[in-house]
Each structure stands twice: as structure tokens, then as C-alpha cells.
């Protein structure tokens, strides 16, 4: 993990309130694993004292860029969305522990993403596809206006989009699609709101899988104990999402 000044090289609204932003700096891509995040200083001292964690959605080794996709939900993401091409941001990256793809033996993977949980799955899918692993994805969004990256996921393999209100693709939740498709795969990889992750891990309790979770962060590097999640091993212990995670084995931690 390094502190870097990066240049914004692309800003594009790709869905409702959803911004795709590309950050460039020499050496920026070194050591990035899918599932890791960038910890972004979005403002001046007084306006935003705490950084904002945003997942790495894509990496371009040739251009030395990292792409993030974020939804404007509050003042921090609103301010981040104000940055223009050519402006500079100060970031920490890569942060956290990503998906351990090099140590998993598999031939077919299911990606299950919800809303702003979709972005980290894209870089994951790309890396898996590179390794010759078959990638199927189920992406859930609130409504048709929120859908993004469908065609990009389609390039990696079958991609099924589902919306809460049925205005695009399937109607319902990602778990409904899991039911309908009755897929076969070795591992699943999921990222999304806590409610979705609970539904997914319950439904796929018999399956091996990895999930990526969120929590409000202080330091983002493992020093302050703000972002803990209880472990599922009966010890009353905690894991730090910013350092031990955000990716965990599906049954490693308690979701609530």
C-alpha cells in the first residue's frame, strides 16, 4: 500500500448517479489484486476529514491506470464526482486483501453483484477469464437506469441482469435468478449490500464462495479498529475489513 498523487484521466456518468473515473500515475498498478480498494482523500482538511473507500473496478497495466466506479450517495462521493480530467487526487492504494484467485483451483466461477458491489467483480472476472476460467455473472440493480457494465461482463461470459422493479432484465433479486438458472460452478464471488450478501450466503450455504463487505472506515489501513466485523469462529473476535478484508470466505464472518 502506497500513498500516491494520481491524475484523473477520465470521468464519465455511466448510469444514474454512477460515475466511472480513471486514475493514472506511474507505478499505480503494482501489486493490485481484484477486490482491493483505493482509499481516497476527496477534499480539503475541513470538508472531508475521512477518506472514502472505493473498490478497484479495472486495471490497465499498459496505461498504468486504475478505474473506479462509484455512486453519488452523499457529500463525499458528490465531491469526488466534481473532479475533472486533468485534476489530481491523493489516494492510498492498493488497500485491503482481495480475492485469493491465485490459490483457488477452479474451472467455473459465478459472480453475483448488487449495485455498487458490481465494480470489484469486473476486475475479478477479467482476471479469472484471463486464466481460462469460465465466468458467469448475475448483476442486480434497482432499476433500468442504474444498470452499467452489462456488455463488459458479457464479454467475460454469460451475464444475467436483474432489476428490483423488472424494468430491465429479470425482475426480482439476484437470488431469484440463482434459483431459476440452477447453475453449476466451483466458487461464487459476491459483493453488494449486506442484505443481499445475507440472502446469497444463506442460499448458497452448501457452496464455496467469497464475499466482499463494507463498513464505515477511519484509517482504512488497519490501525484504528473502526471497520471490524465479528468472526464466525466462536472466539468473539473481530476481523478488520480494511486490512483482513474487504474479501472474506463466505462463512468467515458474521453479517448483520
Amino acid at each position: 500500500m502506497k500513498k500516491k498523487i494520481v491524475e484523473v484521466t477520465k470521468v464519465e456518468t455511466i448510469a444514474q448517479d454512477t460515475i466511472e473515473m480513471t486514475l493514472a500515475a506511474p507505478g499505480i498498478t503494482t501489486g493490485i489484486q481484484p477486490g482491493q480498494f483505493v482509499h481516497i482523500n476527496v477534499g480539503s482538511n475541513s470538508s472531508h476529514l475521512l477518506r472514502r473507500p472505493i473498490s478497484i473496478a479495472d486495471v490497465d497495466l499498459m496505461e498504468q491506470t486504475v478505474t473506479i466506479i462509484f455512486k453519488v450517495v452523499g457529500s463525499g462521493t458528490a465531491q469526488l464526482g466534481q473532479y475533472k480530467v486533468g485534476e489530481r487526487l491523493e489516494v492510498l492504494l492498493p488497500c485491503g486483501t482481495g480475492y485469493p484467485i491465485d490459490s483457488i483451483n477452479m474451472s467455473k466461477a459465478l459472480l453475483i453483484g448488487g449495485g455498487i458491489g458490481v465494480p470489484p467483480l469486473y476486475y475479478l472476472g477479467k482476471k479469472l477469464a484471463d486464466q481460462g476460467i469460465e465466468v458467469i455473472s448475475i448483476l442486480g440493480f434497482q432499476s433500468s437506469s442504474n444498470v452499467f457494465y452489462e456488455s463488459k461482463f458479457n464479454q467475460l461470459g454469460d451475464c444475467h441482469v436483474v432489476t428490483d422493479d423488472g424494468t430491465y432484465g429479470y425482475k426480482g433479486y439476484v437470488t431469484d435468478v440463482v434459483d431459476q438458472l440452477s447453475l453449476k460452478y466451483d466458487y461464487y464471488f459476491s459483493c453488494g449490500p449486506t442484505g443481499m450478501l445475507q440472502a446469497v450466503t444463506n442460499k448458497l450455504a452448501y457452496q464455496d464462495g467469497y464475499i466482499s463487505i463494507e463498513q464505515r472506515m477511519g484509517c482504512g489501513i488497519g490501525a484504528c479498529y473502526a471497520c471490524v466485523v465479528p468472526t464466525n469462529d466462536g472466539t468473539n473476535g473481530f476481523k478488520k475489513i480494511c486490512k483482513d478484508g474487504p474479501v472474506f470466505r463466505a462463512n468467515e464472518v458474521v453479517l448483520r
Binding site: 500513498k3 482523500n41 482538511n45 475521512l50 464505515r216 484509517c219 489501513i221 488497519g222 490501525a223 484504528c224
Partner: protein
Amino acid sequence: MNLQTRLPGLDLKNPVMPASGCFGFGREFSELFDLNQLGAIIIKAATKEERYGNLTPRVAETSSGMLNAIGLQNPGVERIIDEELSNLRSYDVPVIANVAGSTVSEYIEVTKVLTSKAKVDAIELNISCPNVKQGGIQFGTNPELASEVTYHVKQASGNVPVYVKLSPNVADIVGMAKAVENAGADGLTMINTLTGMQISLENRTPVLANKTGGLSGPAIKPIAIRMIYDVYQHVSVPIIGMGGIMTAEDVLEFLLAGANAVAIGTANFHNPTVCPEVIQALPHVLNKYGFSSVEDAVGKGHEHETNLSRA
């Protein structure tokens, strides 16, 4: 420029150290800069047994500040010594151990372990943590209790100096400072956080699982400066000042108020390399405002007053 600062038991290269709870045990920050640059390190609170802390969310952002309710999560004093202090000892930086507890005897026990087994350079007695149900803040808002725990910890610490960390959640900070000075404190660290709350409009409930949390950051700097300024005029033990420091200019403001050294907390989250950056900028700032050393600046915000009252 001479940045050296001498405090009881602490011979500091410079007066800047990370504040307790905002730097863990230094491990993560050592990936970003050489810890040898620091004046000292105040480590996260240690209790006798492992503590699991509060539920999440544990932090929230406020205007120029943040709230935290970590709840003293730590692996317990023995594991801190085994897993963390030996690693920290590889740096040439004094270590100040923050001691927390629910009872006077817990404070004593933790102090004994830290001073005998670990040979820390100083104890910071945390009688001001607002985020635990038992202990902590009661000691910090009641001068008799504060005085009692200080006295006993001082007995237990041998020749390791004890700095008492004061809570700002009191009407009379000078009274608290005098009480712990009289009980034998070798120094004061101030201020801890102010108790605050944020309520989520969406969820209709406090944002923090603990409901209340400690307010820190630049928002509280004027309160810290006022308290240090007042306490400086009434006690003779040294003060390690903290509360909202972001820049070397802020450090100088604390020195002028009467702090002999400073700690930086929340700013480490905004910028994890803030400590070395402030240390590097400090000589220039001291020089710009006409000071030739750190010691030269301490308490100089009171000068005018002395002049006036002499006139």
C-alpha cells in the same frame, strides 16, 4: 533548528508523536514512512484482558471532525507486549503506553505489567475514554477519583513517569489538572475527545452503534487550546497537547498555549504521513515566527499578558 524536547522520562528528537488509538501500534504506518522520524509513539489503549470493543459503525464524519466509539478494543496487555511492543522496540523511538481500565486495581495491574515486563518509557493514564460503559470517563470527570487512580498508578509504575490524560467533558479543567498533579502525575496529556452524537436521518437512529462517540479533529482545537492555556497557568508539570492538529502551524499554536510536546490523532486518518510531514515543516514554521527552538516557543502565547500585568 533544535527540535529536541525533554520531558520527564522522555528525551525526544522532536515534540511530535501520534496520539493513542490513532496509530495502532505503528505497524501499518511503518509501510508508509520510517517510524524513527517520530518524537515518540503513544500506543493504543491496553487493558488487562482482551476487549472486543463496541459494535459497528464505530466512526462517523462531522464538520471538521469525526466521532469514534471503538470501545478500547485491544488484545490485552500481555499480547500487546508479546506481539507489538517487541516490534516497536526495534525503532529508536520512545514508547508511551496508554493504560485503560474499569477499576483502580485494573489500572494498577496493567501499569505493573507494562513497566516491569515491557519497559515502556512512560505511561499515559487514560481516565477519559468516553466510549466504554464502565471506567474511563467517570475517573476523568471526578477530581477525587482521578486523584486516587493517579496516586495508585504512580505507586505502581516505579520510576516510569505517569502522564494523566484529561477529559475535556468537565466544567473545571484546571481543578482536574491540579488534582492529578497533587496526586503525583509527572505530566498531563490533553485533551481526549468530547462526547458527541450524530443521528442518521434515513435510519432515525444514532449513526454509531454505541450511540455516542468521541469528537476529535480540527473542530475541537479551540477547546484544546483554551484548556491547555488555562491549565498551563496553574500547574507546573509539562503538558503534551492534542486536539485537532493538522499542520506545523497548529503545533506552534499548542506550544504557545503551553504544551511542551504534541500528539496528532485524527489527522493520521486524513493523511497517514501527516506526522513526518509536520515534523519536517516545523523548523521552517518556528523560524518564520521568530523562534529558535521548540522550548523557546513553549508558553509564549502568555507573554503579552505577563507584560501587561507587569505594566
